[in-house]
């Protein structure tokens, strides 16, 4: 949230918010020169229970770094993350187990997610045992088998015996999702959970995620480069570009009335089927100049077709353009 709107936000934030992120920053130092790159550069947002925030952006925009910071896999340089009102860095230090129960992450590649030497049963009961769920091994296996069946992997008993390499990508991603949901987290980060999978499987995985978050009222940060699946799941959409949210707000508002030139290009670039009117609109709005050297102004300057001289020197702030709809552009 931009500074100017913070007071307006504060009133409804405290009530019913799982996740509250303020001015998050993460820089990485480049190896050969001492210049540092700001992967995440002042990101703020809130998520309510059961709400899905869809983060979209091209590769390198910082969306995965953001996801990792939210689950404690990367340490922010500055800014604050609060879950259910509690500051995350202290929580993570004092009680890592309960932190892990609160928040979980699903990665893009299910084949990299699991240790190949452990069976699915060992993996799932291991999580339960660590968190002291279930009285004995038998009960934990039963619980794991039930969850497998709920995620469409029946009979669960048989899947418990299998090893990761014996499952297909889609099956393994289901295991990844159900494992992260085993502890009934209040907040889930899903980093490109379907982009490795076939179209025939993607749809089911998206539905599984949506159903689970609905049933358990889990808040979710859904990271994707596919605007179709963002549109499908997200209640709020954040468009990320060079480490910042350049457009953020209610999904319908962002989708039907995109205000940032980059968002427009993004939405129009991914339109389906060659509808004539759609294509003409795309030709007007979707043409993007080649990226050039960085300027001190708007990071999108070099690629923008609506740019003015002011954009070259002034860094745009996030400004409210409608109810729950913010855009970082001088020309809106």
């Amino acid at each position: 949230m931009p500074v100017s709107t913070s007071t307006a936000m504060e009133n409804n934030v405290m009530e019913n918010t799982v996740v509250e992120v303020t001015d998050l920053v993460k820089s990485y130092r480049q190896r050969d020169n001492r210049k540092s790159v700001r992967a995440v550069d002042g990101v703020s947002f809130t998520v309510k229970p059961g709400e899905v925030l869809g983060v979209i952006g091209e590769s390198g925009c910082g969306k995965s770094t953001l996801g990792k910071m939210l689950v404690g896999l990367e340490k922010p340089d500055a800014g604050a993350i609060r879950y259910a009102g509690k500051p995350v860095n202290e929580w993570l230090r004092s009680d890592p187990l309960s932190f892990r129960r609160f928040t979980q992450i699903i990665f893009q590649n299910p084949f990299d997610t699991f240790d190949p030497r452990y069976s699915i049963g060992t993996i799932l009961t291991g999580v339960l045992k660590l968190h002291r769920i279930g009285r004995d091994h038998h009960e934990r296996r039963e619980l794991a088998a039930t969850r497998l069946e709920q995620a469409g992997l029946a009979p669960g008993e048989r899947f418990l015996e299998r090893y990761p390499h014996e499952l297909s990508g889609g099956q393994l991603q289901r295991v990844s999702i159900l494992r992260s949901m085993l502890l009934d987290p209040k907040f889930l980060v899903a980093d490109e959970p379907v982009s490795m999978l076939d179209a025939s499987i993607q749809a089911d995985i998206l539905n599984l995620l949506a159903d689970l978050s609905e049933q358990h009222q889990t808040a979710m940060l859904f990271i994707s480069h596919d605007i179709g699946s963002i549109r499908y799941l997200a209640d709020q959409i954040a468009v990320m570009y060079q480490g910042r949210f350049i457009e953020y707000g209610d999904a319908d508002a962002v989708w039907t009335n995109p205000r940032h030139p980059y968002t427009r290009a993004l939405i129009l670039s991914s339109l389906r089927a060659g509808d004539k009117t759609e294509r003409n609109a795309l030709d007007r709005a979707g043409k993007i100049a080649q990226p050039a050297a960085n300027s001190s102004g708007c990071p999108f300057y070099a690629r923008c077709i609506y740019r003015s001289d002011a954009c070259q020197v002034m860094h745009p702030e996030l400004a409210e353009v409608g109810p729950n709809h913010w855009v970082r552009c001088l020309n809106v």
Partner: protein, 324 residues
């Protein structure tokens, strides 16, 4: 004018214990300056089809039958020498991961010149360099890329280098095997736009293999939907994607999310492609098809030509919608 005619192509992968029929009788004609998208889920045989056209399948394990007529030859009968001449010059390919196609230890310009000189031997170093820089500019890359290494380029830039390579000898036929899949949508669209423009200028015909239907809708005239090694539906993009006739194509279209879940729910296709090392009885999709009847499980479906000209391999083709 047909540029390439594929007749009853069969590719079987032979190993010690089994024979897997990856392509099971594909017949496809692509006319000059047309662009055909081949879609299907993984394991449908679309990449095998591309490799068969290029004759890049391993000799010892892949058994290829049928006919591929291209520029008056049957590609399957050409000698390896003749085939090497055709590749790059008349027939070229761009793969998904160009970082794997490019050598990491040689500069881009060097690699491009090397490929160029395989077929053109009588030009000086300087001439070749100028030509390579022209090529880079043609695909929207600055001349400095000539002196860069692959790791210094972004995915989009590398894909552009691969496209420049594939177009350097003005081939008649360009095959893209998931060539834009790994790119973000805006870069993908830019590259497709540039490619379509270059095709117009250079009169190139394109076969594009992808699992992304949106890409085909945007960049192709025709589409062939592959399932279990066969083309189950083929026709103009506008016909096939707007009103798919085959239950598989219909199901495929419903897997693509584009609207909020409350408005239009997407659904996966239950089941999986049948084991192609076992003989298939009837229609290969029958087990996953909610419309399947007895005939579908027992008899191979006929090829039916629809009023719009598209071809559908289904017993129930013609006004049948997938139930539910």
């Amino acid at each position: 004018m047909p540029l390439i005619e594929i007749n009853q192509l069969r590719v079987t992968y032979v190993s010690e214990h089994k024979r897997t029929a990856a392509v099971r009788g594909v017949t496809l004609t692509v006319n000059e300056q047309e662009s055909v998208g081949i879609v299907g889920e993984s394991g449908s045989g679309k990449s095998t089809l591309a490799l068969a056209i290029l004759r890049l399948l391993p000799h010892n394990t892949a058994h290829v039958e049928g006919e591929i007529r291209f520029l008056g030859n049957n590609l399957l009968e050409l000698s390896e020498e003749r085939m090497t001449e055709l590749r790059w010059q008349k027939l070229s390919v761009v793969f998904q991961k160009s970082m794997n196609a490019l050598s990491p230890v040689h500069k881009i310009g060097q690699q491009m010149s090397d490929v160029f000189r395989i077929h053109v031997k009588d030009q000086s170093k300087q001439e070749v360099k100028e030509r390579m820089i022209q090529l880079l500019e043609m695909v929207g890359l600055p001349p400095r890329v000539y002196d860069m290494y692959p790791h210094e380029l972004s995915g989009g830039m590398m894909q552009r280098v691969s496209i420049a390579l594939s177009l350097m000898h003005h081939p008649k036929l360009l095959i893209l095997d998931e060539a834009t899949t790994a790119l973000d949508v805006i870069t993908q669209r830019q590259i497709l736009d540039e490619l379509m423009e270059l095709e117009r200028q250079l009169q190139v015909t394109r076969i594009m293999i992808t699992h992304d239907i949106a890409t085909v809708a945007y960049a192709c005239h025709k589409v062939a939907v592959m399932y279990a090694g066969q083309i189950v539906e083929f026709g103009d993009v506008a016909d096939v994607l707007r009103e798919p006739q085959h239950p598989y194509t219909q199901a495929l279209m419903r897997t693509i999310p584009a609207q909020p879940r409350e408005t239009a729910i997407v659904r996966g296709i239950p089941g999986s492609i049948p084991d192609l090392s076992e003989p298939i009885r009837g229609c290969a999709f029958a087990d996953r098809c909610s419309l399947a009847r007895n005939i579908c499980r027992n008899e191979e479906p006929p090829q039916i030509t629809m009023p719009g000209g598209s071809q559908v391999q289904c017993h129930l083709a013609g006004g049948v919608k997938h139930a539910g």
